[in-house]
């Protein structure tokens, strides 16, 4: 955005009494190619474009967005937002200088805009063939690849003026195994920051086999008998439970609404001493990594829980000021259509000391949740629910066969103290996280870990 135009809009916001004014301009080119059941089901591309204007009056947020980036349109939006408000005194802005580029992702990447859909199709066909080669019970295969290349500019009344060039690419492979009237689906969905330089390194044959073999195993599985039991959570995507049940309540967006069981507990022991949890936006090309957050602040590594002690919260500008913690570079939003709030980036439980075998051996009767499916949480009450995509019964310290139909429910703050063993086999996995500022890419992660008791839903 032209800095002169930006300055006029920011100044109008200050003239209307806003303590802080920010512009967020975004242009995103995205494309998707889906190869399903041996044909291209969908080839699509689009351009998203718009500008968001945010005015802060203390902790009160006024936000507007539009696809019309003309000066008149943006000035009108500021007037609409600030209707009836005036400044007590002269509020000046620090005029934005030229916009500073903070990321060079585009210059390093294999650009999806240049590669075209033909290149991607060959890759998807390999995944389809590999999945089908596992068994004739694999009756459906869907492989899609989504890429998005974004140019973001953030200019605010404090003189910040940055341009961030972002790119993300994600593969989604889903298979359905069928036997008689039974149908079971399993999926793999790795995602990365960057273009096709990371996709080229993916072993799509191995991913396809992994999903297919999992679906085939579950197809033969009996239902688990539900009840309270010890659960060993698998590494990688098992971290989704921490993300949902504990991560969201550790965001200032929940804390400032008094909608978190962790309100006022910084410095308290909230988890077993074996638990250290981190949210880190700086980790290379991980799916949830950023150079700057959507408020223009450089991201950082944030230790949330250290040896069971709550250290801080994840914060955006408004949340940090209201809750009284430092900003952590966690202000995020799906697009210009959302005001930023505190959100997770790459969130994980750090590796511990326990071996996977010792965890299994310590359980008399329980569940090994090898692969989690999705889940959700109500931060205000802490109540969560998660489906287990692939589970194994544990009996007398040994894995005793695959089971299906397991669901985990409980309250996050009650589960944290029940984590008694943390493994060494750390892994991460990509996911999408939905909340008040939209759906954003995040990474979850953990080593295998043992929860002493949790309610497992199943059949009685």
């Amino acid at each position: 955005m032209n800095p002169v135009k930006a300055a006029k809009i920011l100044q109008l916001g200050r003239d209307c009494g806003a303590d802080f004014v920010e512009l967020f301009e975004e242009e995103t080119r995205s494309s998707v190619l889906t190869f399903k059941d041996k044909v291209v089901e969908s080839a699509n591309a689009g351009t998203d474009f718009g500008v968001g204007v945010r005015l802060l009056y203390g902790s009160e947020v006024l936000y507007a967005y539009t696809s019309d980036d003309s000066e008149e349109s943006l000035l009108r939006l500021v007037r609409l937002l600030a209707f009836g408000r005036t400044a007590n005194g002269a509020g000046s802005i620090v005029a934005p200088a030229s916009v500073r580029l903070v990321s060079e992702v585009w210059s390093r990447m294999r650009d999806p805009r240049v590669l075209g859909q033909g290149y991607k199709l060959d890759f998807l066909k390999r995944g389809d063939a590999a999945a089908r080669s596992c068994s004739d019970r694999i009756t459906q295969v869907s492989v899609s690849i989504v890429d998005a290349v974004s140019a973001i500019e953030i200019i605010n009344s404090e003189g910040l003026a940055v341009r961030d060039e972002r790119a993300r690419t994600r593969l989604h492979l889903s298979v359905t195994a069928e036997h008689g009237s039974e149908r079971i689906s399993a999926s793999e969905a790795p995602g990365f920051g960057g273009g096709y330089e990371v996709v080229d390194k993916l072993d799509i044959d191995a991913l396809a086999r992994r999903a297919s073999e999992r679906a085939l195993r579950i197809l033969e599985a009996p239902y688990i008998e539900g009840g309270q039991m010890a659960v060993v959570m698998g590494n990688g995507f098992g971290g989704v439970i921490f993300h949902e049940a504990c991560g969201h309540p550790l965001e200032t967006e929940a804390v400032r609404h008094n909608a978190s069981p962790f309100c006022g507990k910084i410095g308290d022991k909230i988890a077993h001493e074996s638990v250290t949890a981190v949210d880190d936006g700086t980790l290379g090309n991980l799916w949830g990594s950023l150079t700057v957050d959507d408020e223009g602040m450089p991201v950082q590594r944030t230790v949330l829980i250290e040896n069971g002690i709550l250290k801080t919260f994840l914060s955006d500008r408004v949340g940090a000021a209201q809750v009284g913690v430092p900003r952590s570079g966690s202000g995020r939003r799906e697009s210009y259509k959302y005001a930023p709030v505190s959100r997770m980036r790459n969130t994980f439980i750090a590796p511990g000391q326990d071996s996977f075998d010792s965890m299994i051996a310590s359980v008399e009767d329980g569940l090994y949740a090898a692969k989690m499916a999705g889940g959700s949480v109500n931060p205000a009450t802490g109540e969560f629910n998660f489906a287990v995509e692939e589970g194994y019964k544990i009996h007398q310290g040994k894995l005793a066969g695959v089971v299906r139909g397991a669901t985990l429910i409980g309250k996050g703050h009650e589960i944290l103290p029940r984590i008694s063993m943390v493994g060494t086999d750390f892994e991460t996995a990509a996911g999408m996280c939905g909340a008040s500022s939209g759906s954003i890419p995040v990474t979850v992660g953990q080593p295998s870990l043992k929860v002493d008791r949790i309610l497992v839903g199943g059949r009685s």
Partner: protein, 453 residues
Amino acid sequence: MSQEQQASQGKQVAEAMAFLQNEARSSAADAFDLVGRHSSSLSLNVFQGKVQQTEISESVGIGIRVFHNGAPGYASTERLTPESLRQTLKDALSHCAFTEPLKVVLPEPSALVEAPSQWNADLEALSLAQMAEFSLALEAAAYARSSEIENIPHLGYGLSEDRSWFANSRGISYQERENSYGVGIGAVALRNGVRKMGTYQKTGRVHQDAVVATMAQIAVERSLELLDARPIAGCELPVVFSNRVSGSIIGMFLSNLHAESVQKGQSRFAGQLGKIVASPLFNLISDPFRWDLPGASVLDSEGVPTQRIELIAEGGLRSFLHNLETAGREGCAPTGNGSRGYSGRVGTTFHNCIVPPGTQSEDELLHMFPRCLHIVKLDGSSGCSAISGEISIGVQGFLYENGVCVQAVDGITISTNFFEMLKQIVAISSEYNDSFSSVKIPAFAVERVSVSG
């Protein structure tokens, strides 16, 4: 947004649609259709006696589908400049090289059912100040109803206006507009260290239907009713799904009635046309002419006239829902159930999914069994699979014995299979919930469900 501003932005979309049509006509496309949209909204949230967030939005977008040698290609843009529109057409045409040819004939203009307006001019006058006044009164009323209300983290009011355009290469050109309001509250109650949230929302086209006292009462009652809940032992029980959750539980499996799911082998209803798939009490209809509901429409988003469709009648499977592409694959007529936003490919939708009511009240359903579980809250949906039909999900509600509530229940899960459950429906109530929703399903009772606690 003022009428003048809306007219101005609407004009931009209409002009961009005309530009793109002209470009498409002179391109390699054999046929094409376009969807355009202009959306605007006003909304605010309140917290602890203050307006905490205010939002104003306006956005536009155009999507195009072109056919070249019968193969479809899609693209979209939110930039309405000539360069961006030309790039969008170029992208769409390039995608035709990858997709399979379809036997799709785009519809021509035809006589349509006369539809009442889905625009309430009264809503145009609803201001942020009025929304704030209502919301602050609602917050105060909710706190005043019970000293156990600890927090109200969710309380918001919004107004949305949408104008959409459709045009195709065979001469159809129409536009429609609709507006609606929504106000919702989530109140948290605290007792003995246990927190429960009760939610209630009112949406529709007549904002006077939202009444502070009523909304506060319902939200607070819902937050208090489960505070003393505790698990029950694992067992098999009859279950009554309240009309608060009946739409959610059935709604998760509706894609099984989309022809696209059937064609892709992702529907357990494949090959079941004419067969019994549900209890004889169960009927399911797509009704585009229920003008009181948000799914009403005379044309679908591919320009095909809509129709009322009986999908399940007395438990028998009668039909599937088609868009132009699925009908083309099967060589049958489309049913007018195409669905498409500007940025995506065509999908399938119900135009109001309705299960006709039974004759008994929800309370009478609870008297049907010596012991049953009344489910009023679902804990998420991640344990449900539309493909396998599996339902393994946390629930909250009440245990009833001989029609009397004996215990509030939480910390349990139910496990069943949707397709088995449909056949085990033993009663459907006469009462819908009061939501302005395109899914209207009364409470229903199921003979037996597995419970873990």
